[in-house]
Symmetry: C2
């Protein structure tokens, strides 16, 4: 059955992604100085004796035919790991086209359903016919994704089996910080085993928290933020037209607040909470509630009983007292048969209250019933609170509403408070990639083939200078070990890529800080980004995120 397509799907198939100049013709690899990990150098070096200290690589235009034209035939396997991000298909298309350019007999295999495809030998050959169906499309459906972690040697050995069977010279893992850490562990293992299989990573995640000196942004962040900002802008125009609702909008993004911050820069809401700031200032839940209520009161005094509040998904865990409460609940309720045996919500609530420390008990009592219920009863299979399921936007609405009622009773608030809640996440993870993400991802795939052809392993494909026009982009490779440090994970010290939270001394946050009082008070400072445009004026179609521009000024 042929897939029915929308007109935009049809039109996008013909789009030719833009690339750094170095990738358009012959390529040469230029190696820089030896590198060090960002911290814990001795430990990282000991864990990665073969992949530690490798040089940063830059791809430059080659004067004559480079290594890629003289290569023998070789095959590559690709894996999509973790949550979807717009542009994943284009990384694969770039890989395919890069391989074909080096040698038309090269083959690309896709391991299906994430890393488990490698272990279970579940794969498909990605032919030109397949690839052409997926050019410039959203989603990870070409081969699917999954969350199996590649951590154990028996998994790695299963990988060797299938790679040897298929003549696979290199595995490309498209994933976030953890998946790239695992890619490096795999690369190291394969070097130790001298099995000749290379491993290359690609920086994926809409959350924007895989970012450092060499990775300016992870792919998908651009498209996801633009999609959410479209919706936020539409809602703001509605708020400003109806003049009667406060919209509380929670945004995906896991721990880091990059998405909320970028959306705020794009749409200029009345309030945008930043989890990292809440933690740094040691704010309580009441502090957060009071801060929102203060903006609502001030606007009501100006006759403006409407507005928007952006809430990062991870907020609740960054409120120190909440984190303690959640930890106590996890410790208390995991595998607690006495608790499980209790009948009725009330009995369970009472049980919990009696077991918590006084401070946590007080906080627990102050929470709206529905949220207390979510914390106590809705638990994952390990008995842990499912933090990402907590409807923080509803929690805040309920608490702000209560606070406003108190202020009204005290004569300090004369407005009307009606609210509507939203949560955006799945709406943007598989959007059709923006030109930026389409170009960036395709370039990452092309870059990966060059690193593979040159025999590199333990590298992440990177493209830098992204705030500039694509003609100024710089492609290359970065040793994964140099992004690592040692962190506590599940009771052990592990080598991991540092997760990038929002920096309170970074230009994007400083911009928010500088303007938010004005955005809070003004009749409206709203910006309406509108939907992502793929055609039309370049200032409409080819702009990177505000975050990227602020972090990398001209």
């Amino acid at each position: 059955m042929t897939m029915l397509k929308s007109p935009l799907q049809e039109a996008r198939q013909a789009y030719q992604p833009k690339m750094p100049v170095a990738l358009t013709g012959n390529v040469q690899l230029v190696e820089g100085q030896a590198t060090e990990s960002v911290a814990d150098q001795e430990q990282i070096k000991a864990l990665f004796p073969n992949t530690y200290g490798m040089p940063v690589i830059t791809l430059e235009p080659g004067a004559s035919a480079g290594n890629q034209q003289t290569a023998d035939t070789f095959n590559v396997g690709v894996i999509l790991s973790g949550g979807q991000a717009p542009g994943g298909h284009n990384v694969i298309c770039g890989l395919f086209d890069g391989l074909q350019r080096i040698n038309p007999n090269n083959k690309l295999y896709g391991f299906k359903g994430g890393p488990s495809g490698l272990i279970e030998h579940d794969y498909v050959e990605l032919t030109a016919k397949v690839i052409d169906e997926y050019r410039n499309t959203g989603g990870f459906d070409i081969i699917g994704s999954g969350r199996t972690k590649l951590e154990e040697t028996w998994q790695f050995d299963k990988g060797i089996e299938i790679c040897q069977k298929l003549g696979i010279k290199a595995i490309v893992i498209i994933g976030g910080d953890d998946s790239n850490t695992n890619a490096c562990v795999l690369a190291e293992y394969y070097l130790q085993k001298q099995c000749g299989i290379q491993v290359i990573g690609c920086p994926k995640t809409i959350d924007g928290d895989l970012k450092n000196e060499f990775i300016e942004t992870s792919f998908g962040f651009d498209t996801a933020c633009k999609t959410y900002s479209e919706l936020i802008g539409n809602i703001q125009r509605d708020a400003n037209s109806a003049c009667k609702y406060w919209h509380f909008i929670r945004l995906m993004g896991r721990s880091a607040s990059h998405i909320a911050l970028e959306c705020a820069l794009q749409s200029q809401p009345n309030v945008c909470l930043i989890s990292e700031e809440v933690e740094a200032k040691n704010m309580t839940l009441n502090d957060v509630v009071n801060q929102i209520a203060a903006v609502i009161v001030a606007r009501a005094n100006a006759g403006l009983n409407f507005g928007t509040v952006l809430i990062p998904e991870g907020l609740i865990e960054f409120i120190p007292a909440m984190r303690v409460l959640i930890q106590e609940l996890n410790d208390l309720l995991a595998n607690n048969e006495e608790f499980t045996a209790l009948e009725g919500d009330d009995a369970k609530r009472e049980y919990v209250k009696n077991m918590l420390t006084p401070a946590s008990c007080e906080l627990y009592r102050s929470l709206p019933k529905g949220i207390a219920r979510q914390l106590t009863l809705d638990r994952d299979p390990h008995g842990n609170v499912m933090v990402s399921q907590i409807e923080t936007e509803k929690l805040l609405i309920e608490m702000v509403s209560k606070r406003l009622a108190q202020l009204k009773a005290a004569g300090e608030y004369k407005g009307k408070f009606s609210s509507i809640n939203h949560f955006f996440g799945y709406e943007g993870r598989c959007a059709i990639p923006s030109n930026f993400d389409a170009d960036y991802c395709y370039s990452l795939g092309m870059t990966a083939t060059q690193l593979i052809a040159a025999g590199k392993t333990g590298y992440m494909a990177v493209v830098r200078n992204l705030a500039q026009p694509h003609t100024e982009w710089i492609a290359g490779g970065c040793p994964i070990t140099m992004m690592m440090n040692m962190e506590h994970r599940n009771g052990k010290m592990k080598p991991v890529i540092q997760k990038a939270l929002v920096r309170l001394d970074g230009a994007p946050f400083l911009f928010l800080e500088q303007h938010r009082a004005e955005w809070a008070d003004a009749n409206t400072s709203y910006i309406y980004p509108g939907p992502i445009q793929y055609y039309g004026p370049t200032e409409v179609c080819d702009q990177p995120t505000k975050t990227l521009k602020l972090e990398h000024p001209m």
Copy 2:
């Protein structure tokens, strides 16, 4: 303070809406035969002695200068009524440009905050400077909107006062079926009073339920449906990539299921409920639940534990037994002090159970707790159930989940069911209008000025032949009385414009009916519409809705 704008906002300001040929030069009005109302002719005629039976008007290119060039100066007042819809600003821009073309000294006034602005004499002059800020933008923020109903003669008389003061010759009311009914009542009253003030209506509503032989579609429906379809498509791509979630998506649209149906035609989900069908087939809530569960089971048997379900906002009221229950609750609880005095949810629930008829009691008992609570406790100021606030998507998830558990226990279902719920409404009501809505609305505004200049009143501005390219569009006017019949409202018979529900013998529904089994079962039949495009190939940027195309084939 100057408004900061997004690049797309900037670019859209320069867009020149496309118009029917007749509106581009000199215009002449051609009158057809006398008309009749769609039903209850005698009663409508008696209620509207002055505006009944007027001819349909078509605007045609004028060979020489028509009436518009010879007109004296005159002013117009405009009102936005009810919920926001993309394109409202362009109706006003079309009005302004039309007035200016007739005589540059003509003025346009906007009554602020909806019909109450007319009554309270709250207005603003819409100058070229103001108008230019709002060209091709979403929202109703240029003058705001409101839901005050124009129904009483003292309101009409307040209108005369301000119109005479401002030299206003005509009032344009941009609204839905009720607002246009009221526009006609106002027109009739002003004729009876011989005060010389004309009234013209414009067909607005994203819900698509203001539709008849002369109004092919209300404005805003196109943009809103395309925005929701963008999101549904993105979610489907996510569902199809992650392969582990069923997404239950409720869509705004009030009683009628036009929005859900159009979104289904655009995105081809696994299930799309149509309220009108549920009612026609006299389905129970359990029937609906079983129907969804059957699709989930069939897909699980094929290894597909994911999918999408579209749910029209009005569903709950179209399930006959639910309607009876809601009616009983309304009768029972409105101003019931005994009930209000009861303490605790449980006591209230018991009270209700004892008072309901056996059938309603059984249904009430079968509902998930949270929903029963919403029905019993969350009531509007008149004591009525707030139907639009009921989270039908969560209700269905809970009941489907229960049903699947039964099927699993019986060995008839082996899949895994995880669900995510969404509600889309505010995300699309103020989107930047599509080219279609921008063009259509601007043409409606231009058309209204021609009807005004010709001295017409009690007409709705209409543009027809909309499924064809704009060069084939036909502008004109339609007497509002011809769309009316008598209906029961709040215990009285009233003249109203017939609300257009989804016709089960109409081409859009028949298309759904013909294809839905295939959409339910296929690995994926999903279409991914992507975001609205304003630039680029015409097949991407200038397509009307599928509903319009199916209802008006070439």
